[in-house]
């Protein structure tokens, strides 16, 4: 395949010089499209608050004043980061614990109604969040769960669990069937084969699923917005949307952008490190 690609490229290059730089232009276009707004956020964050409306491509005077303002005592931003971390990690762990065994059964065991179960699980991920939140908000109000972590974690499972089950099912399907067969020849029950052979080998797939789930749970907004009305229980996405900042400006865009950078940078770094796994995880659905 590689040689065919090379040959084709060589002939094409000889025929059209233009075709050589056209893809490069396309690549540059995509990179610019994806990164320009992000770049603008970073640059704005590093300006001095007084230079906020300055539109130069680089800050005239670099400053971390905006970042300092984000963590001003009144904003509750540090606490919000901690809340997000708690909600997103707990959601991820719960999802993996519950989802892995289900995905294994769906990928490897033959039982009646398997397709129905898988379709049902996929379908639930498409339900609009607000349709779940309105009744749950009422239920949680009645049982005194408003402003608790579980009120954010439990509804988050509604989108995290289907995604995790789906991804892990795709992953288990790709593992060779002989693994369990060998284990069972050696006297393992199907349950033992799953625990002792499959789970350790499935670590990479579970890791990918964990990253995707964590990012989705971290970025969640409407559940956290509905279930919490106290500032010290807000997650970071909600805190950021209510950010009025500590500077005297009516629209403290600089502070908001600094907060945005703080929330986004860990995700972007994680995405860059694990990009191959993430893309494989994201596209496993579209590929089949």
């Amino acid at each position: 395949m590689t040689t065919a690609t090379g040959d084709e490229r060589r002939t094409t290059r000889r025929r059209f010089e233009a075709k050589k730089w056209l893809p490069i232009l396309g690549v540059a276009g995509i990179v610019l499209y994806c990164l320009a707004p992000f770049y603008w956020m970073v640059v704005t964050a590093f300006r001095r608050p007084a230079d906020q409306y300055d539109l130069s491509p680089l800050p005239r005077t670099w400053s971390v004043e905006n970042f300092r303002a984000v963590f001003e005592p009144g904003t509750g931003f540090g606490r919000a980061l901690l809340n997000s971390l708690i909600v997103a990690s707990t959601t991820t762990i719960l999802t993996l614990v519950i989802g892995t065994s289900t995905a294994y059964a769906l990928a490897r065991l033959a039982f009646r109604g398997k397709n129905l179960v898988l379709s049902l699980i996929i379908a639930t991920s498409m339900f609009p969040g607000i349709s779940l939140i309105v009744p749950l908000l009422r239920l949680f109000t009645d049982i005194g769960w408003i402003n608790t972590y579980q009120a954010m974690i439990l509804p988050s499972l509604s989108f995290a669990l289907p995604l995790a089950v789906w991804n892990l099912t795709m992953f288990f399907r790709q593992m060779p069937q002989e693994l369990e067969q060998a284990a069972m020849v050696d006297g393992c029950t199907p349950g033992q084969a799953f625990r002792r052979i499959i789970v350790p080998l499935a670590a990479p797939g579970m890791f990918t699923t964990a990253i995707l789930t964590f990012i989705l749970a971290w970025n969640e907004f409407i559940i956290a917005l509905s279930m919490v009305n106290e500032q010290n229980m807000q997650t970071v996405t909600v805190a950021i949307s209510k950010f009025t900042g500590a500077t005297q400006y009516d629209q403290p865009f600089g502070t908001q952008m600094a907060a945005g950078v703080i929330v986004t940078i860990p995700l972007v770094i994680g995405v860059l490190i694990f990009q191959r796994r993430i893309i494989a995880g994201l596209t496993s659905g579209g590929l089949k």
């Binding site: 893809p23 065991l109 609009p128 009744p135 669990l161 067969q181 945005g260 596209t283 659905g285």
Partner: protein, 341 residues
């Protein structure tokens, strides 16, 4: 690496067919059924609590109204009262109709426009990424950035870009009030949404492109087909399954749009209020009955669109039809033909 993905899948789908009879036999081992139900039931239980219960509860709650209201004789009525389909009548034809239909059309308009733009842009991006040999790693990394940014943050970012003194007005050399003019605020929401999700569609389509074997293109080139004809008659039909699934996911996601208009433009703005925002606004005002009715209507709308889409375009969402054990030889033959196509 990008070529790894399709290769492993080809290997996988190749394995499934010969391995299938064995899998079936191992399935008949006693105890597998019990094990399967033990493994599957926790997920189904959780989904029953966080998805099924709310859907049914919303339907039930939408039949009641709560809080103070006046009855027919003008007396104040307190507490929960059964009104049957009265709330729906109010929403569809009565006093709440104007706001509901406005939100309905906003939702539909945003979905139609953003998904169309995303499909076209995503397709273009996928074609570029597929052709690119230099800078592949850079493109792949940058395409994930908009996806990874939380919608709440991207909404703030675009609010800054579209601020009266922001960079959008500076580039366009205009003084557009993006947050208050009706058309302008719609454009702002659409721009932000497309920016964030078109690269994601591009990734899904790229995965579909990579499964197409090069020989097909080479054969068509030998037969004298130009680039445009190859795109319309080979690439597009072959990438259609991946594109259809991507478009379906995007549509269902766009129909529940909330964070972006909520933060970018604001609450209770007619020009961008979506059905999700309408239901949320009623729920926070403790109008649980109407809120539940809006939520149920949105759910019905989403379900209808998903159903029609899957029926019309045959979106193979779970991919099961192709990876499942063939029932008989004929089915296997058809499957073989399908994957060779």
């Amino acid at each position: 690496m990008t070529t790894d993905t399709p290769t492993s899948t080809e290997v996988d789908s190749g394995n499934t067919t010969p391995g299938s009879p064995r899998r079936r036999r191992s399935g008949s081992v006693t105890g597998t059924g019990r094990l399967a139900s033990a493994l599957v039931s926790p997920t189904l239980l959780v989904l029953a609590v966080v998805v099924m219960y709310p859907i049914i509860a919303a339907l039930y709650q939408s039949l009641f109204v709560s809080g103070q209201r006046l009855d027919a004789q003008g007396f104040v009525v307190e507490g929960r009262q059964f009104v049957g389909l009265g709330t729906y009548a109010d929403i569809l034809f009565g006093p709440a109709a104007e706001r509901f239909w406005n939100a309905f059309w906003n939702t539909t308009f945003f979905t139609a426009v953003t998904v169309t733009l995303e499909a076209v842009l995503g397709m273009a991006m996928a074609l570029v990424m597929h052709q690119a040999f230099r800078g592949r790693g850079l493109v792949r990394a940058s395409v994930l950035v908009p996806w990874a940014i939380p919608t709440a943050v991207s909404a703030l970012l675009w609010r800054w870009i579209f601020a009266p003194d922001g960079v959008a007005n500076a580039i366009l050399d205009q003084q557009v009030l993006w947050s208050s003019q009706a058309i302008a605020s719609k454009i702002a929401v659409i721009t932000a949404e497309v920016w964030k999700t078109a690269p994601f569609v591009g990734l899904l389509v790229l995965a579909g492109l990579q499964v197409i074997s090069r020989e097909v293109h080479e054969a068509a080139t030998v037969d004298g087909a130009g680039a445009w004809r190859r795109f319309w008659h080979i690439t597009l039909p072959l990438v259609k399954p991946a594109l259809v699934v991507a478009v379906l996911f995007r549509m269902l996601d766009a129909l529940r749009m909330f964070d972006l208009p909520f933060i970018l433009i604001g609450q209770q703005k007619d020009s961008v209020e979506t059905l999700s925002m309408l239901a949320f606004s009623e729920a926070t005002n403790v109008h649980y009955g109407p809120a539940a009715a809006y939520a149920t209507l949105l759910f019905a709308y989403v379900a209808l669109i998903a159903f029609v889409f899957v029926k019309l375009l045959g979106a193979d969402v779970i991919g099961e039809a192709r990876s499942q054990v063939p029932k008989n030889r004929g089915a296997r033959f058809r499957r073989g033909k399908g994957s060779a196509r």
